[in-house]
Amino acid sequence: MTLLNVCRPTSLAELVAVLRGADPVHLIAGGTDLLVGSRALPDAGRLVDLTALPALRGIDTTGPDIRIGAATTDAEIERHAGLALRYPALVQAAAECGSVQIRNRATLAGNIANAAAAADLIPPLLLAGARIAGLTQGGAECEISLQDYQAGSGMLITTVILPAEGFDPDSAFVKLGPRRDLTIARLNLAVTAQVQDWRLLEPRIVAGALAPRAIPLLRAASVLDAQTLTADLLRAFLDALSAEVDAAIAGRASHGWKRQAIRGLGIDLIARLLKLSNRDPLFDGVM
């Protein structure tokens, strides 16, 4: 009775043929969104399993750009030493997605395509100016910036590219959920900057779970730019973070809590960027 056919292409040519077919196409990689019990599986068309395509796997950090296959799992990102050296924020974010079991299945492009407001990989990817290479519904190759990506547009993501000029080893990611582990972010933050002599040069910050899509926190970042990190500066930074929350979600039930909680998360973010404990004396006078 089911009209849903499953196929598992092993080459891009085979995949393109499927995409060009007449049947509606539903893509599946790790399945951590599509297969959970609370969601209905599509009942017709072709369910295309992307996990057998070598072209969609792997992390290449050897060139100026970093290239990550779309079906690379969170666990592979979490464990990749080269990536950890060149862009720690993404590795940290991958390490905080779901559980070990989820991270073994969930994929980079799945996190992008599912487009949840609380997606953990999006803030570091946006910070890095990530670009997405893929195939259109007709099977033509295309490449756009993550910023311009629209979930549900029908584009099949094959590779995520972090352009050389976009990311920096001085980067960090932190999140806050209802519990420490295996938790969906109620707030997450990613930062990149050049750290020099207790100053952050050209810092950029992106926040997730504060709006339908992750948003840059330009004002808060500007407070930090090139200034020596003192308690006064950090306090001004935290005030700016609260103001960013006010601007984003004033009137929402979570507003009062998030404008305070982001101060804690802001300290955690700076601490992680500087490789300090969030209990370091630097933060003592900030409250």
């Binding site: 009775m1 959970v36 609370s38 809590w257 305070q260 300290i267």
Partner: protein
């Protein structure tokens, strides 16, 4: 002592961890038909019509039933004995649905996928009625619960309980400190890993077999008989292995429907809920709001208390009518208070029905009492441990409500020894700090019951018999819920009989082969059933020695059972050889049946100590240290006792900090209806746990043992709330302590 006090592994442990246990839905059965339910999307509505045409047209659909085609007998899913007087206001499929998730119709089909797809094709029209979604609204909707036709109405309160003990007005007039605290507790969900499931099929002689992960086969029989309007002896109920219950499977929810479908169709029928359905269409712990005024003397004596409690029991009575009384019972058994006024009421709302959940009112009332007492101690300048020591009941105390003797009540030992082991005196004096992270310690005491005495059916019958192979079979209506009660009971039998655990075989509960027992509830397995097993084992020991005396030509009193043999100083015979010897002489094998009727209901006591660290910016609470001191009487199996305590703390931690199914006040829908949206404490949230067992024997318990299963979760939430309040200087009293509530309290 051979077996009692030993850390023995579960008798079904290897079977479980190697996947050999067959749970109710595991066995492939030819011709198995699957049922799926349609649930109400409205909190209160009349079901006007059902068009099943499209569903019935689907290949593989066997039939569709709703209120016009099913028995409309009122029943109460919380009874455990036919004739038990509880408001019978539930219908398998009511004409007027009373909550989101109430049952509208059922589809039976050849596969579960077909049944679920067909449910999606049912077309129903409703006349939506006004709904009461909060207990405040319910109080305004007051009146009798039964109308002139003896039909249940929808008026509140459903039940009340009251106590006026001593001169409360005088107590408050004499007090040097008076404090008043208002506490709310949330609805929480059991979160058993096995979702609700039942199987039923026709048997010979016009009977129906029901195979169900339940807490009492006799309760299933009584409820299904009431719902279907048939004689109970037409129902043959067996207990399947159970993948967790915590009270969530105490009430037969699916069994009446499953049995009905098997009767109608002659098929083997399975009805299994999804995770979402288990959240939204079974039972929760009741939400409560309570107010407690406490009058303290200058020396810390509690002179009087004045307590008002409202229990939101949801859309059907179930056992909710018992809750105001249960909460009162637990409240008055902890401290010696000369004057008490208590008013408890249970109210209907158009929300998911509530039911049994580990502690049955105890976590709610002790949250109120222990948070209120802590704040009173703070206001009056008393140390929380010293204040409790001043007031806690001692051995042989008589409770002022039921007049029961509380037995060898060792709450004071838990307080003293627990405080010492935790380092309370030093740690309670430490300043919480002024930075982002604040530390605090808190503690709470609690008591809980041991069985249902003085309820008139608090008894059980155990049979132990020698088998032809020399093994011993224990037959009793036993319902191990995964806590290890079968193991504990086998240890008791083995201890008396001089055997090892491997010599005892435990039969699962079966209404055809077991004598009546009211089931696994009310912390009665070790204390009540354990004593029946001990008595049966003593009688079997005598019977075996009498039989062996003939075989060995010895006096029975010179014989002892040891290591599966009967022996005297000069001779011995193995139990297997004895069985063979007896059989060869056409002599019955020794068997003993004993009924134990409870004569007491002593208190189990516990005092828990917690250290927390609170992030004052994010509102996150981390439990950093925990010590649980338990008055256990005697630990039959210390490892299982500790397991119960650890699990109790996990549930209590969630109750304090995270868990709330949270009925939306606008729509009546549950917000916490999946594991993604209902936050449980997982492993990283658990702190190191130390347990301290106070083992001073209870004379009426088997080998001195008392219960631990339910009480383990009771003091957890107030201990944690008190620790958070100590860390922050706040007066947080609304559970759970979500980060938002903590931040709001800090800002105020």
């Amino acid at each position: 002592m051979g077996q009692v006090g030993k850390r023995l592994a579960l008798i079904d442990g290897v079977e479980k961890v190697t996947g050999q246990v067959r749970f109710a839905a595991d066995d492939a059965v030819a011709g198995l038909a699957h049922a799926a339910l349609l649930f109400s999307p409205h909190p209160h509505a009349r079901v006007l019509s059902l068009d099943a045409g499209k569903a019935l047209a689907m290949a593989g659909v066997i039939g569709v039933w709703w209120h016009q085609t099913t028995p409309q007998n009122g029943y109460n899913s919380a009874i455990w004995l036919a004739g038990q007087q509880l408001l019978a206001d539930e219908r398998m499929f009511p004409a007027v649905v009373r909550h989101v998730g109430d049952r509208v119709a059922v589809v039976l089909a050849d596969t579960e996928a077909t049944a679920r797809a067909a449910v999606g094709l049912l077309e129903v029209t409703y006349d939506v009625l006004p709904a009461i979604l909060s207990p405040e609204g319910a109080q305004a909707h007051a009146g009798p619960t039964v109308d002139a036709d003896r039909q249940p109405t929808y008026l509140n309160p459903v039940a009340k309980a009251a106590l006026d003990h001593g001169d409360v007005a005088a107590a408050f007039a004499l007090a040097s400190h008076i404090s008043e605290t208002h506490v709310t507790t949330p609805r929480s969900h059991h979160c058993a890993i096995e979702t609700h499931v039942c199987r039923a099929w026709p048997e010979a002689n016009d009977r129906i077999a029901i195979h169900s992960p339940c807490q009492s086969v006799f309760a299933v029989q009584a409820v299904v008989a009431q719902a279907l309007g048939i004689a109970a002896d037409r129902l043959h109920v067996t207990k399947s292995p159970i993948g967790g219950s915590f009270g969530g499977k105490a009430e037969p929810i699916l069994d009446p429907i499953c049995a009905f479908l098997a009767m109608q169709t002659g098929r083997v029928v399975q009805l299994q809920l999804s995770r979402h359905e288990t959240f939204t269409a079974t039972r929760t712990r009741s939400a409560t709001e309570g107010r407690m005024r406490i009058a303290l003397a200058t020396d810390g004596r509690i002179l009087g208390r004045d307590v008002e409690v409202t229990v939101d029991i949801g859309a059907y009575c179930t056992g909710g009518a018992y809750l105001p009384g249960s909460m009162l019972q637990r409240m008055v058994r902890l401290y010696d208070v000369p004057a008490e006024r208590y008013r408890g009421r249970a109210v209907y709302t158009n929300t998911l029905p509530t039911g049994a959940f580990r502690g049955y009112g105890s976590p709610q009332i002790h949250a109120l009492g222990e948070i209120a007492l802590d704040l009173a101690a703070r206001d009056a300048g008393f140390d929380p441990v010293a204040l409790r020591l001043r007031n806690i009941v001692g051995p042989a105390a008589i409770d002022p409500w039921q007049g029961l003797n509380l037995g060898n009540a060792r709450g004071a030992d838990c307080l003293r020894r627990g405080a010492k082991a935790f380092g309370w005196e030093t740690r309670a004096r430490l300043a919480p700090g002024t930075g982002r992270f604040r530390r605090g310690v808190g503690m709470a005491a609690a008591t809980h019951i041991n069985g249902c005495f003085p309820g008139d059916d608090e008894s059980t019958t155990a049979t132990l018999g020698l088998q032809a192979d020399g093994g011993i079979v224990l037959n009793c209506a036993l319902h191990d819920l995964g806590c290890g009660s079968d193991t504990t009971l086998a240890q008791i039998a083995a201890e008396v009989l001089g055997l090892g655990l491997q010599n005892i075989r435990v039969t699962p509960a079966d209404t055809d082969t077991c004598t009546y027992d009211l089931g696994t509830r009310a912390s009665r397995m070790t204390y009540i059933v354990g004593e029946a097993v001990r008595k049966a084992a003593l009688a079997l020991d005598q019977a075996i020695r009498d039989a062996a005396a003939l075989a060995l030509n010895a006096a029975p009193q010179d014989l002892t059972l040891q290591q599966a043999c009967v022996q005297s100083a000069r001779t011995r015979i193995s139990l297997a050889d004895l069985a063979t010897w007896l059989a060869a002489r056409n002599t019955a094998l020794p068997i003993a049946t004993q009924t134990h009727r409870a004569t007491a209901n002593p208190g189990s006591f516990a005092v828990h100590f917690a250290e927390v660290e609170v992030d004052t910016l994010t509102g996150r609470v981390q439990v950093t240290d925990y010590l649980a001191a338990h008055d256990i009487g005697r630990a039959i199996n210390p490892m299982l006792v500790e397991g119960q305590i650890h699990g109790g703390i996990q549930i209590g931690l969630g109750y304090a900090l995270y868990e709330d199914v949270a009925v939306d006040p606008g729509t009546g829908r549950l917000r916490g209806d999946s594991f993604a949206r209902y936050t449980l404490a997982n492993a990283p949230e658990m702190s190191p746990i130390r347990t301290l067992l106070v083992e001073k024997a209870e004379p009426t318990g088997p080998f001195g043992a008392k219960a631990v299963g339910e009480i383990a979760t009771v003091p957890v939430a107030p201990a944690l709330v008190n620790a958070v309040n100590a860390a922050l200087g706040t007066r947080l009293t609304d559970l759970p302590l979500l980060p938002e509530r903590i931040i709001l309290a800090l800002q105020n």
